[in-house]
Amino acid sequence: MKRDIITAAIGILVFTLLLGIVYPLFITGVGQVTFPGNANGQKIYADGKLVGSKLIGQNFGTPVLEKNGKVKEVKGAVVTEADPRYFQTRPSATEGGADNAAASTFSNKGPNSVKTKEADEENIKAYLELNMGPNKKEYDPGLTAANIPVDAVNTSASGVDPEISEANAHIQAYRVAAVRGLSRATVDRLVSKYTSGRGLGFSGEPGVNVLELNLALDRLEGKAS
């Protein structure tokens, strides 16, 4: 028994040193040398400023202002409304505002829950308003609740899903093209450019990286003007 206790005590300290300190440091070293971009989170800069990470979805909304000109907040989170000039990411259940990458969380809404239905209805309504236009015909005239892709309505798992489905992107392309005065073909071309395929051709689903797409749109306009 005494022998076991001594061995166990030495063992746990040795393994903590090897597996808890040496191993992570070794992997960090290897990562920082071989894949520094990936290891540090695929940061994206625009005009020398950090605008986000390629892998992390963002809220492309603008702060809502109250009558007195102050930014409106609910429970410390800035209230935003979708900016029609940009492609919008999927609904997010994170606290402290959508796409909070410091505290990822599931919505944990059940399949048979009234709350889930209500949330879905609300998201459908918002999506229709955003993508049909103020008079319900400017952007995508053929859009109805029945042909909204599910990813545009259901919350993502991580709350920071960087991608949307191609169908979702092509619907939003009507709006973005109209608001920015671009041809829809131009916008759709960019959508295709930032669509990644399945892993090895069969694992997962294709998706459109929203941050990269939006930055490309801004660059396009920057060049034109």
Binding site: A8, I27, A102, P111, S156, A157, G204, E205, G207
Partner: protein, 605 residues
Amino acid sequence: MTFDGWFLIVAFAVILTVLAYPFGQYMAKVYRNERVFLTPIFAGPERFLYRLLRVDRDGVPSAQDWKQYAKSLIVFSLAGWLLLYLILRTQTLWDFTGLNPTGYHSAPWNVTFNTTSSFMTNTNWQFYSGETTMSYFSQMAGLTVQNWLSAGVGIVVAIALIRGIIGRAPDQDGRVGKSIGNFWQDLVRTILYVLSPICIVGAIVLLSQGVIQNFSNYLTAHTITGLTQTIAMGPIASQEVIKELGTNGGGFLNTNSAHPFENPTGFTNLFEMLIVLIIPAGLIFTYGRMSGNRRQGYAIYGVVMFMFLCAASVAYIAEAHGSPAQHAAGLHTHVISGSGGGNMEGKEQRFGIASSALFNTVTTVTSCGAVNSAIESFTGIGGAVPMANLSASEVIFGGVGTGLYSILEYVLLAVFIGGLMVGRTPEWLGKKIEAREIKLAGLGILITPLTALFCTALAVASKSGRASIGEVALSKTGGNTPQGFSETFYAYLSQANNNGSAFAGYTGFIQPTSGSLGSHGITFADLLGGFDMMFARYAPILFALAIAGALAGKRITPAGLGTMRTDNPTFAVLLIGVIVLVGALTFFPALLLGPIVQGLTGHLY
């Protein structure tokens, strides 16, 4: 459903089998202490570790009988528990390392009790959320270490049981025959020869795909629409790979393998599923090889692969169909051009339906419990699949080691039942099965379900248990819904099976802000869960080792005409029958009350 979806499931099964077979043969060599291709690299460190641990006797650790083996295992686990609890409770003391850039404080004692028990038992149930609670130091020096060690402990028990089963009759001094190996030697060899090569290569593969690995402070980004976004960082790749490989499942970040930093692409999703199953699947072939009859391994592999494919298919069909809530809201869930459709609530776009259903099946048949999508948001039937997987008590592949020793107990039971049916003394690999082994196997099989059901009943019936149900806040009926029951049941079932996946609305930790200041645990759920995990981990381990001890000393009689074979399809069918029957008899009532009710109605609660 799509062709690609079905193709993924089939391709995954094929790739897994192709990889697991040679790996199983390799592990057999490792545990027979034979020379393998890594011996030139690891022989030195191996001898050094034996000397450091003072188990070295002429270069070889001495043989242990099952009681000594169990004692070493328990004492070592206890030491690990104490150190981990200490590290987690003194989080701010380690600030000098620079590995707590966010300055987080320790979580309260009750949550830490739960977390410590959870990581030590290979459960990795998480009431806390990684990026708002843990410093990098706690994640590395505390949690990552137990990811390795708890995996090692599971594997060595399976190996010890195999040695017991194949052990030859005792020699003159009656000593060698009772030996089932040496715990320290098995543990060291597991870490060096089995876990570390895959971890190092796997971490680099994950890095190449975008999993992060750094010690930076959380990033602050200024978005193009004028908002700010804080992005959690950390040494994730090194923990991610052992989390999958050791079927641990405790995510570095709260949303686990759904988070893009843990699982960035469709490829990493496939890769992570493969490393979850490589050891559990490989060990089955190891068993065949070590028992001297590879067909023994094939029979078991056939059984678990069949059950696995059934589970994955049901989950895929259910999730592709969509949920009642979606349909009631007017959403169409069929496949359209450019969208896979289905129930995308709590799923990531880059995975879609098939990869999400398959991933969560992989991690719930094993004891991994990592998730790449929210199980709580799965449809009724889709969510019943993980629960049914857990109800099968880790025999469908199961956790590393745990899965093999659990199914070997079922094999023992099936042999016994088969023997009764044909009216002969049951024999297994030439050894007579007697009352002692059957009693131990019966206890080993039933102790986990009993613990799970007992804890669920206690939690559902008591007021303190209701405080944890997330559904209380969400639903108008105050949690008196099938979903509320499912949350509770899943919590204690998952912890008893040392799985760690969750209907994540169930909580034992209230944390108003990041960093644990002002936070408090829900003592009832934390403690009940902690004991649930520890009891359902170590009791079955002791039974498995006791069976190994009981079998080790038995004489082998040559197989005769009347011997029931345990390596043919007939036996495989019998084995499936026994597993399904035991699982169904113990869990069917509980499953009916929760997910199946929801799956059978379109009613909203």
